[in-house]
């Protein structure tokens, strides 16, 4: 009996190890230091992302003008001292609109990415953990979603539901979950064979607890990296949808929408109206991509191999 209890306590210890593995291997501070040491560009991008987030949060304080204030006497002014990035066709300050537009872009980067990754994570966990028919059904659904050209599918969703921010959230969440599901499934397949999961199973830990307390925390490094790399993809998708006229609707200061409106003036001698929001999109997307790239090298060489 004592021997049995001893074994159970060893098993429980192993199971706890698994659940806590993520926190103990290397602290987050260590990893942040490695990131700064290994990849200066990624570290700089992280700082840039924080600055952009702060700028978006405190937009009313940072922006030099009200982003919806129209002034027809100031319309289509070239970049200068009064308006650093010029004014648009309604006399609105382009820089202020870009600063306020950062709110929309970041929100579109974050919300659909969080939703799609939550869906993908749960489905990937179930597919990998239960296997068999559950796996077959979920992965065929993922195959179907991955077969669509994402932009066209998002366009069809927007066509079905109409434009607007909430519908963009839904469209991008529905379109982008499959990639996460694949990554989580493949990790779950390998993690569920680990000793600590075996140990958890042998001491009678329930399946949902095993999935969400023992396996999921060990998928976190890949998920964090994937999250960082999915944000710019979502931002680009929104910009593309708005550019094609099925995304955000006026008078929203979405960067994609600003490019579409500015496009008309590109060949009329006011190129800043289209170029300024394009550059803003590029800076944010590049910052997330550089940061995600660096983070991947530090956190998850497994994802890089994939």
């Amino acid at each position: 009996m004592a021997d049995y209890e001893n074994k159970v306590s060893v098993m429980a210890g192993l199971a706890d190890d698994g659940a806590a593995q993520i926190g103990e291997a290397d602290t987050w501070q260590d990893k942040a230091k490695t990131l700064v040491r290994q990849n200066k560009l990624a570290a700089f991008s992280a700082v840039l992302i924080v600055v952009i987030i702060l700028m978006a949060v405190f937009a009313p304080l940072v922006a030099p003008y009200d982003h919806i204030r129209q002034s027809l006497t100031d319309r289509l002014q070239a970049p200068g001292a009064a308006h650093w990035l010029g004014t648009d066709e309604l006399g609105r300050d382009v820089l202020s609109r870009i600063i306020f537009g950062a709110r929309i872009s970041l929100m579109i980067g974050l919300v659909p990415t969080l939703i799609s990754m939550a869906i993908g994570t749960v489905l990937g966990l179930f597919a990998g953990f239960y296997g068999g028919k559950v796996d077959f059904m979920i992965m065929r659904l993922a195959d179907i979603m991955l077969a669509f050209p994402s932009l066209l599918l998002a366009m069809v969703v927007m066509y079905t539901m109409g434009g607007g921010l909430i519908n963009i959230f839904i469209a991008l969440s529905l379109v982008n979950w499959a990639g996460t599901a694949r990554v989580v499934r493949s990790q779950t397949l390998s993690l569920k064979e680990k000793e600590y999961v075996e140990a958890a199973r042998s001491i009678g830990v329930k399946k949902p607890v095993m999935m969400f307390r023992h396996i999921l925390p060990n998928c976190m490094p890949s998920l964090i990296v994937l999250f960082t790399l999915n944000i710019p993809a979502a931002i680009l998708s929104e910009a593309s949808l708005s550019f094609l006229g099925v995304g955000a609707q006026p008078p929203s200061a979405s960067w994609g929408l600003m490019v579409v409106r500015g496009k008309k003036y590109l060949l009329a001698g006011q190129p800043w109206l289209a170029i300024a929001p394009c550059v803003a999109i590029m800076i944010v997307v590049m910052a997330f991509n550089f940061f995600g790239d660096g983070l991947r090298d530090v956190l998850d060489p497994y994802l890089k191999e994939q």
Binding site: R140, L141, D143, I144, A147, F148, P149, S150, L151, L152, L153, M155, V156, V157, M158, Y159, T160, G162, P232, L236, A239, S240, F243, L244, G245, V246, V259, K263, L266, L267, P271, A274, I275, C278, V279, I281, M282, V285, M286, N289, F290, D293
Partner: protein
């Protein structure tokens, strides 16, 4: 090998049915009556009912679905509401333009991507490497429409080297091809570099150097051959991103291809045309993935023999 091809095709069939089903359902739950959309608001109710019956829209949804699949298998995707023409014919008229654009873009992507990848790998961690890889990440990060607008502004509007839009002459094809290719070039360059760097550390490279082969020969004859396997597969997989990018490129440059057709179908709420273009494009992507899979088998003897 034949067995493997058949197996892959059989796996692709349920995916294809799923794709058609999803698009079919999504476009059927669009608010508003399709016949009213087609004929306008002020049409007699009796006429709307008659046309609905003629088009089979009064049937239950599952009957409509099986009818649609049956017709699609015979190559009939229905009639466009707006253009009043067979959707298959419209798509087949536009498709050559998208193929032309994608092939030109692929050539640009391969030339720039592979060359930049090789140079970056050879000059690993040196200035050229960082420059090319920074450029590659910029290529991946730049929205397709941004590259399009910038090049259009610089080379078509300011310098007048190329026409602003159109796709009827080789000169007009240059800018759209660069725009679409630039985006894929970034991913190809990054992949070529990382594979080449990995392969260069193998024993057979050391042997090649030890027997006195020049560095150029080592790279081209030994390393590149092995490093290019995943890159070649990736190129076939990029059909998907090319087609997505084509939607934007065709819109900016006014190229009458499949992407522009899809955008027009949305603007004019032409459901059969939108349905047809999305399904057609997805079939092309599934075929591209299938080819990528088989290509990998053909090119890599380790996988071929393991099969």
């Amino acid at each position: 090998m034949l067995k493997k091809i058949l197996k892959r095709i059989i796996i692709a069939i349920p995916v294809l049915i799923g794709v058609v089903l999803i698009i079919f359902i999504m476009l059927r739950i669009v608010p508003g009556d399709p016949v009213t959309t087609m004929m306008g608001e002020h049409v007699n109710l009796a006429v709307i009912e008659k046309v609905s019956k003629e088009m089979g829209l009064d049937q239950p949804m599952y009957v409509q679905f099986f009818q649609y699949v049956g017709n699609a298998l015979r190559g009939d995707f229905g009639t466009s509401y707006r253009l009043n023409r067979n959707v298959t014919h419209i798509i087949l008229d536009a498709f050559p333009n998208t193929v032309k654009l994608s092939v030109c873009a692929a050539l640009v992507a391969w030339m720039i991507g592979i060359t930049a990848g090789i140079i970056a790998a050879v000059r690993q961690n040196k200035l050229l490497d960082r420059l090319f890889m920074g450029g590659a990440l910029m290529g991946v990060s730049m929205p397709v429409f941004m590259t399009a607008l910038l090049l259009q502004y610089m080379f078509a509007f300011k310098l007048r080297w190329f026409p602003v839009s159109g796709f009827d002459s080789p000169r007009a094809m240059v800018l759209p091809a660069i725009v679409l290719g630039w985006n894929s070039a970034g991913s190809i360059a990054r992949m070529t570099r990382s594979n080449l760097v990995e392969v260069m550390q193998n024993d057979f490279i050391r042997t090649a150097r030890a027997k006195g082969l020049r560095e150029g020969g080592v790279i081209v004859k030994h390393a590149l051959k092995n490093a290019m396997l995943p890159v070649v597969t990736m190129m076939a997989l990029q059909v998907s991103s090319m087609l997505s990018g084509a939607v934007l490129t065709e819109s900016v440059f006014g190229i009458p291809g499949i992407g522009r057709l899809a955008v027009n179908a949305i603007e004019t709420r032409d459901m059969p045309l939108l349905q047809g273009t999305v399904i057609f494009t997805t079939v092309i992507i599934i075929a591209g993935n299938l080819i990528a899979d088989l290509l990998y088998n053909v090119l890599d003897p380790r996988i071929r023999e393991g099969a």
